[in-house]
Structure formats: C-alpha cells, structure tokens
C-alpha cells in the first residue's frame, strides 16, 4: 500500500513529491507527512489541487484532511470533521470566524509535475 515515489524526490529544490495524482479521489482529502509536518491535500471536482494544514485549530487534533469538501458561495471549502468549522481551501480562512487569526489554516504551495503531486517548502503563514 506504500506509495511508490519517483526517484528524484527533491527536497533540495524546495518541492516534496507526496503521491501520484490519480491516488487522490476527487472531493476527498489525504494527509501527507512532509518534514515532520502534517499537511492536508485535496483534489477538487474540477481537478484543482489545494494543500492546507492538517491540524484542526479548534480541537488541536490532526484531522482536516478527513473533512467534507464542498463550496460556500464561490469558495471551495473543507469542514473540520471534529466540530464542523468550515475553511476556505484557497486562503485557509475559517469562514465561520474570518476575523480570528487563531483559526486560520496554513496554506502550502502545491503543484502537479507530470503525474506527481508536489508540496512546496514553506507555508503562507496563517
């Protein structure tokens, strides 16, 4: 069940390969472990990729990737499975408390290279 990673996992370039694109089910997240950090990665119905922190700021548990994906207005969202706060996947902002910086998820760079999903080093700080 281990994801076979391509040989050139290039932490040195600042991008870490985490899985193949087709390992991601549309509209459902997975967690990835990148340099000891837990990151939630989502592939949406339109094919776009998003990566945010896996830690739920409300409960402190690492569960965000297991939340339900959807939309609120135009924003693509994930709802924490613990207490159901809804986060904007593009910005990490908690849409139920947009002004509370403590409830913002870090947003990580993510890209598709060939058929591989890569997470960039450094997060846009919450």
């Amino acid at each position: 069940m281990t994801a076979t990673l391509p040989p050139d996992t290039t932490a040195s370039t600042g991008w870490t390969t985490v899985c193949r694109y087709d390992q991601l089910q549309p509209e459902r997240g997975v967690a990835a472990l990148v340099d000891g950090q837990q990151i939630a990665v989502f592939r949406l119905f339109d094919g776009t990729l998003h990566a945010v922190g896996h830690r739920d700021p409300v409960s402190g548990a690492h569960v965000i990737a297991r939340g339900l994906v959807g939309t609120r207005g135009d924003a693509p969202t994930v709802a924490s499975p613990m207490y159901k706060q809804v986060f904007d996947l593009r910005t990490g902002v908690c849409l139920d408390a947009p002004d509370d910086p403590a409830l913002r998820l870090p947003v990580h760079p993510v890209r598709l290279r060939d058929d591989w999903v890569e997470i960039g080093a450094g997060a846009v700080a919450p």
Partner: protein
C-alpha cells in the same frame, strides 16, 4: 375631563371563560386607569388552565402544559387573581360577595363564571374510596395516584392482575375518561345508559362504528346498561359495580378497582339560587342575549349561564359570552349570536366529529353516508333538499375532513359531496383558497378565514405560531389547525413570502422533498443531483443527507464510488472520531447477548491493540483510541471472531436494548432477548435521518427502558405492546402507545412500516419524537398509515424494508475484501503506516487515555509520555 375612580369588577370562578373575560378586558384597554379594577375569586388553587386538554395532563404531568394564554395577564396592574378562594354568598342589596374565609369584596359589576360540576348519579356506594369524577387537575391527579397505587400493590402481590376500571357514562366526557384510564394501563369498561355511545353527537351508524373502534382498542363498551349500585371489598374500597336488571347482554356486575363518573354536568348555580336570581328549568343562571341576569349589576357567562333557554356545555359559546360581557362593560352593545355546537374529539385515538345539523332534523334534509366497517370509518353529510348546501355531518374513525367542512355549514359544497367522504378527499378537501372570508375557521375562538388572512396580510405574521398568537385561532381544541395552517401557507405564498424549508445553500428543498426527488428521478449520484436540482458543490450538511437518502433507496456499499466523498469521517472509516483524532470501534452485540468466547475475543483485540475498553450505555463494548490506519487490522480480528459492524457511527440503527425476559426472569411473559436480537438483525444498517434506537422489555416492569427508545416493545400476556417516539438525550421523551397486544408477525410488520415511513418523511437530524410532533396529524396519522394503510402505501413500505433486509451486508467485511476501499485507511499518503506523531497517552486505572495539554507539556519535558502502545507494531500489517 378628570379620570373617574376605577369601578370594581368581581368575577366568581377562575375557569376558562373567566380567563377569556379578563383577557378581553385587558386587550381592549378596559382595566385600571379609567376602567375596571378586576378581582377574580377562584376556588381552584391555580390560575385558569385549559380544561379542554385536561386528559393530556395524564401523559404530560406538568400542569404548566395546560397553561392558557400568556401568564403575564395575571400581573397586569388592575387585575387580581385570588386562588383557592371560594365565594359562599352574594349580597345583591349590599353589592358584596363573601368568601369561605370570611372576607368581603364589594362590586359595581359581578360576573358569575362558576362553570359546572360533574353529575354523579345518586347510586348507593357512589362515595366509596376508588370513586372519582373528572373535571379538574386535582381530580385527574387523585385518579392517577390511586390507579398507580393499586397497580403497584397488584404487581407485588402473588397474583398480579391488571387494574380494572369502569367509567359511568359513554358520552364525550366518558370516552375521554376511558382514554385516560386506558393510558394508565387500566382494563377499562364503559357503561352507558343509552343504547349507543355519544348519543348526543352521533347517530346509530356512527355509534356502531365508534363502538367497534373503541372495542378494538381494548375498551369494553356496555351500552343500554344502567348502574344500580356500587359495593366495597374487604378493604373498604370500591370492588363491584352492579348493573340494573334488564341491562343489555344480561350483564349483572363488573369487578372493578376504580370507578369514574362522567355522566354529564350540572351548572354551579347555587350562588344565584341563594340570592334569588332566576334559574332555568334544568339549572343555569338565566341571562338575556347580553348575558345580563335579572339584576343589571350581575352577569353570568360560560357553562353556568342559561341563555336561550339552555346551558352550553362547550367552551366556544362561553368564550363568545365573555367577549360580549367585556364589550358591555366598556359601553358596547354586543349580543349573543347563537353558537356552533360542533365538536371534534380524539377519543382513545379515535376521531369523532359532529357538526351542524348532525341528525338531519331540518325539513327535507338528505344524507350522504359512507361506511367502511373494515377500516372502522363512518361518515355522513347532511345536505339541503337540493343536495347542494351543507347542513351538518358526522365523522367517525377519520375526521380529517372536519376542519375543511365545518366552515362550509350553510354554504354550497360545490362539486360532488361524496368527494369529501372518500379517503382521498380527507386531506382537507377542496381548496381552502375558496373559503369565504366570513367562514368561521376556529369555532372555539370565533376566528374567521378573513381574520387569519388579515393576520398575514396586514399584521405581518409570517408563520403559524405568529398567527396563533395574533388571532388565537387553534389555541383551544386545536382541531382547526390543519385548516389554519393551510390558509396561512396559501396567504404567505400569495404575498410572495416563501416559507423556507431549504436544506442548505445548495438545495432549496427539505430532506423529505429531496428524498422524493431522488426516488422519482432515480438519480444515483450526488454530482448529478446537485447539478440538476441544486447549486454549487455541496457541504457538510447536504452531502451526508444525500448519502443517507441514496443508502435508503438502494443498498449499495456506503463507500462505493463517489458516495465515499459524501460521508462524514465516521461513516467514511466506519468508526467514531474521538477528541484526539483516533477512533472508537463498536462491534454489534445484538440485544446485548454475548457468548463468553465473544467476550474473550473482544478482550484480546483490545489488549493486543492497546485500546481503552468500556461498556457503553447501549449494552455493548466500545474500544477507544484506534488509529485510523489500524482499523482494518482490528476489524480483521473482530470479523474472524464472528463480529460485524455495530454502526455506532452514522445515522442508522444503533442498538436494540433488551432485558433478560422470560427465559430467566421469574416475571417475564415473553422472550424479549429473542425478539430484540431478531429486530436488531432485521434493522441493522438501516440508514435514517437520525440514529434509531429500539428496546424490548419482557414484562411491564420495563427493565429495558423501551419507552425511552424510538421504538419500544413491551411484552404482555397476549403479545406485545408497541410504543414509538421515545428518546433520552437533551430533551427526553417517553414513547407513546401505537398499538397493543400484537402478535410477533404483526409487530414486526408494523415496526417495518413505521421505520420506513420515518426514514422517508423526517427532516435531517430529526428523531422520531419531533417527527411525530411535526408530521401533520401526528401519532394518529402515523398509526392510520402503518396499521390501516390510510395512504395506500403499506405495500410499498413493506417492499422497501424487504429490500433492506435482503440487501444487507456487513460493511466491514465488505471493506476488508476490497483493496480499493482499504486504501483510505492510510494515515499518510506518503507514509501509510506511520502513526500520527502528535498522539500521546497516559495510563489511568490500567488503561490508556489521551494526555491532557498540561501532561503533554510536562511529559515532553520529562520524556515520559507514551506514544501509542508497545504491542501495536506486532499486530499491525
């Protein structure tokens, strides 16, 4: 102009009509400043309450539930309510009343609103302990206490037998009392002197139908029977009712523990008689159409008044009189317009309605009769000689057309009258939109269709509750509510106000409507549904709802294809998420019965995976702290030991709690464990709007707490009693009786239909109790659907449950067999077996538990926190 000193108004009696009088005076600004100083002298120890709903006090128990109107009324400056005060004398010359406590109250105006007293026939033994009347909250409380006490003594005796009771009187009140006794579990007899039940309201055909229906509910009716005397047993309490000679069916006596007199009422006109005010030939204080007695300072209203030569034993005419007196006291000239004596009752769950010229006494009157002896329905419409104008009618067994028909009395029915009588016509009949503005919709409160429309149009009411508060429609007997609701909805729609039942921003319809959309269109995927019938891409509200609907309509695996993306994490990994992000595992233990081997297997799994173990409140075992990536390994062991998913996650059947029942318990009368297991296996995996819990008790001691469950079954000597709509939780509710003494096959079929009907029509996260409260027609409607097939959908409901039972497979076993499904249990997509590094535990009372934030900080410093269990790696794959 200076303000004159307030005049003194004394009201004797604090009943329903007195309440309405004070309310009307206050509403019209007639109290205090420049108006009246009001003193209400009430014999009962409490504020006026809803006597019409008295019987509900048996089930509700909280006197507060019977509150009338806004309790703040009694705090209005200028209004005084004196409870527990009996007036013993009216001194008309001095214009004072005297109370039993020796106080005097002077009056400028006096209103007698003393109501009626129950009539107790003068038979020998009528005052024995165990004989009751049925008029006040205290009467009901005393009756209930007596029955409970006898019942408890019986159960503890060596020959337990049910409490038996007789109600004297088979009219409206008598049947109410019989219903109340039956609800207390009393074996009830009704003794009626006339040859049929409710002789004043229904004709022979109606009486027959009624007797059949009431008999089917276990109440034995003895019509044409007179009570000769009552005699006591050795303990001095009532023990036998003797029938007069020549009673029907040769009945000589009944052995009873309790007797309730409900043989009519007599006006409490004793004060008027003593001060020499004229009374009617059959009692009642004689008043003119303005409700004034011979003495211009004294009025009489409500049941005590004799107006137009008769007394009026219903609340609506009393309310009219109260409004008239309020008007008169403020200088108006209102007069009694005559009253509508229509009644609609739900007696023992049987609908009875009688309205207008029910007996067809108008010259040339024609009757249209519809009878269905099998369904126990009798309906009659009385029409004018040209068969066009509605004059009156009688409905027994199904009175759903009443609310629509009553306002049409005296008007042309339009179309075929028979359409009103057929089962399909029942839904309130032809459009309420056509109802003229002056048609009375709520007869208890004299509210017309026009006033209801105005409340919406002019007063800005936007829902039923606001309209009720504003017009008082529907606040007494409630029988007009379906029509009021219809008028309100129609009016709101006309005003362009949409009544939102939208599920969320993605779907404009309610869960029940969405269910129908899916069923009718046959759509099987969320994407297609949201594209065609919604907008956006869904959310954590609508996705699980759609998942549940899809699961109810076909029995595919909950994790198949796109459906997996709709499931909340609990359904997605088929376990319950805990505060630290790990999960709990609950194997099914049907009925709570488990073998020693089963217990050992669970114990071994818990030990080997380092899981915290606890017995749940649902008679099974919960294993906590399972990391997501270990769930398949844990379940592989459990499935191998013969266990299956317990569905502790998801909205579905949880458990069927059982007591040990007749196999071991010395009191058990049926095998509750066997039934509980059968039911749990039948309904396992059934997806529903909220969780469903069942309980089965082996006798009336109820050790399984079945009445605290959505579906509760209690064994009887003859079979099973079925209760529905119970729950614990935030708002606990006791389940209500749906049917009695069912054999097992009928019981299971009835539960099947009840559950499928609930699954189809309930709202999101609505358990059975609130569903029953909200569904139109309530419990009686549901009973008619599941027992009498009143909607003609029983076969469909049966088929749906058969499909479910047929299609059931264990979700965990199926998951273990499918490598594709197993992929989701990876902790990390790039490190599938690595534990979440943030988890940490401490050991307490010999078991692991998540460490607290403080322990975590301290532990990290000391390096003493245990991360997962040492044995875990050995057993993970």
């Amino acid at each position: 102009m200076s303000t004159p000193a307030p005049r003194q108004l004394v009201v004797v009696g604090g009943g329903m009509v007195a309440h309405r009088l004070v309310e009307a005076l206050v509403d019209r600004g007639g109290v205090a400043d420049g108006g009246w100083q009001v003193t209400v002298l009430a014999e009962e120890p409490r504020a006026p309450y809803d006597r019409v709903a008295l019987t509900s006090y048996f089930s509700g128990r909280d006197p507060q539930d019977l509150a009338l109107g806004d309790p703040a009324l009694w705090d209005t400056p200028g209004v005084q309510l004196r409870r527990g005060v009996q007036v013993t004398e009216v001194d008309r010359a001095a214009r004072v009343v005297r109370t039993a406590g020796g106080r005097e109250h002077g009056y400028d105006a006096l209103v007698l609103a003393t109501g009626s007293a129950p009539f107790v026939p003068p038979v020998e033994g009528k005052d024995l302990p165990g004989c009751f009347v049925y008029r006040t909250i205290d009467d009901v409380a005393a009756l209930r206490q007596y029955v409970t006490e006898v019942d408890t003594r019986r159960k503890d005796s060596t020959h337990p037998r049910p409490v038996t009771g007789a109600v004297v009187g088979g009219g409206l009140l008598g049947l109410e009392a019989a219903g109340a006794l039956t609800a207390l579990g009393v074996q009830t007899h009704v003794v009626e002197f006339a040859p049929r039940l409710m002789p004043l309201q229904v004709d022979e055909g109606g009486g027959e139908a009624l007797q059949r229906l009431v008999g089917a509910l276990g109440v034995q009716v003895h019509a044409g029977t007179a009570t000769a005397k009552l005699t006591a047993g050795r303990d001095g309490r009532v023990a036998r009712m003797h029938a007069a000679e020549g009673s029907a069916a040769g009945l000589t006596h009944l052995d009873v523990d309790v007797v309730v007199f409900a043989a009519g009422v007599r006006p409490r006109d004793e004060l008027a008689r003593a001060c020499e005010l004229p009374v009617g030939p059959r009692g009642g204080v004689v008043v003119d159409p303005t409700c004034r007695t011979e003495d211009p300072a004294v009025w009489a209203i409500g049941e005590v008044a004799c107006l137009d030569g008769r007394t009026w034993g219903l609340v609506a005419p009393g309310y009219t009189m109260a409004e008239i007196v309020a008007d008169q006291l403020l200088g108006g000239a209102a007069e009694f317009p005559g009253a509508d004596l229509s009644t609609k009752l739900k007696l023992l769950g049987v609908d009875v309605a009688s309205f207008g010229d029910a007996f067809g006494t108008s010259p040339g009157a024609l009757s249209v009769v519809y009878g269905d002896p099998v369904a126990g329905v009798y309906k009659k419409l009385v029409l004018s000689d040209d068969a066009r104008t509605l004059l009156g009618g009688i409905l027994v067994g199904d009175a759903s057309a009443y609310a629509g028909l009553r306002p049409l009395v005296g008007r042309e029915l339009g179309g075929d009258p028979a359409a009103w009588l057929l089962p399909e016509g029942a839904e309130g009949g032809p459009a309420s939109a056509e109802l003229p503005d002056d048609a009375a919709v709520c007869s208890c409160n004299n509210v017309t269709a026009g006033s209801i429309r105005d409340a919406v149009r002019c007063d800005g009411c936007t829902d039923l509750g606001a309209v009720k508060a504003c017009t008082k429609a529907g606040t007494s007997c409630g029988s007009c509510l379906p029509l009021v609701k219809k008028l309100v909805t129609t009016e709101l729609a006309a005003a362009g106000v949409s009544v939102s039942s939208a599920l969320c921003e993605h779907f404009d319809v309610s869960r029940a409507q969405l269910f129908d959309v899916v069923r009718v269109t046959g759509i099987t995927s969320f994407s297609e549904l949201v594209d065609r019938h919604g907008r956006g891409r869904g959310c954590d509200i609508c996705k699980p709802v759609v998942a549940s609907i899809l699961a109810s309509l076909d029995s595919g695996h909950v994790l198949d294809g796109e459906r997996a993306t709709l499931q909340d994490t609990n359904d997605h990994v088929m376990a319950n998420i805990q505060k630290d992000g790990t999960y709990s595992v609950v194997p099914r233990i049907p009925g709570g019965e488990v073998t020693p081997e089963g217990l050992i297997a669970i114990g071994e799994v818990a030990r080997d995976f380092g899981l915290y173990t606890k017995i749940t409140g649902g008679q099974r075992i919960d294993l906590f702290g399972a990391r997501m990536e270990l769930l398949p390994a844990i379940w592989e062991r459990l499935v191998a030991a013969g266990f299956e998913s317990g569905h502790a996650y998801g909205k579905s059947l949880r458990t069927v709690k059982s007591c040990v029942g007749s196999t071991w318990c010395r009191y058990g009368v049926q095998d509750s464990v066997a039934l509980a297991i059968a039911l749990e296996l039948r309904y396992r995996g059934l997806r529903s709007p909220h969780k469903i819990k069942l309980g089965v008790s082996g006798c009336a001691r109820e050790c399984a707490e079945a009445r605290g469950k959505d579906v509760g079954v209690i064994a009887t000597d003859n079979g099973w009693n079925l209760y529905v709509g119970g729950n614990g939780g935030f708002t606990p509710r006791h389940a209500k009786l749906l049917a009695e003494d069912l054999d097992t096959e009928t019981l299971v079929r009835t539960i099947d239909r009840f559950l499928v009907y609930y699954v189809r029509t309930a709202d999101r996260l609505q358990r059975t109790a609130p569903w029953l409260e909200e569904i139109e027609g309530g419990l009686d409607h549901v009973r008619a659907v599941v027992l009498d097939d009143s909607l003609g959908i029983a076969a469909d409901l049966d088929a749906a449950m058969a499909d479910h039972v047929e299609g059931y497979t264990d979700e965990w076993r199926a998951t273990l067999e499918d490598p594709e499904k197993l992929r989701r249990f990876a902790s990390f997509v790039n490190a599938p077996d690595s534990p979440d590094p943030s988890l940490s535990y401490v050991v307490e009372r010999g078991q692991p538990r998540p460490s607290t934030a403080a322990e975590r900080t301290a532990g990290e410093a000391a390096g003493a926190v245990l991360v997962a269990g040492p044995r875990l790696e050995v057993f993970s794959r």
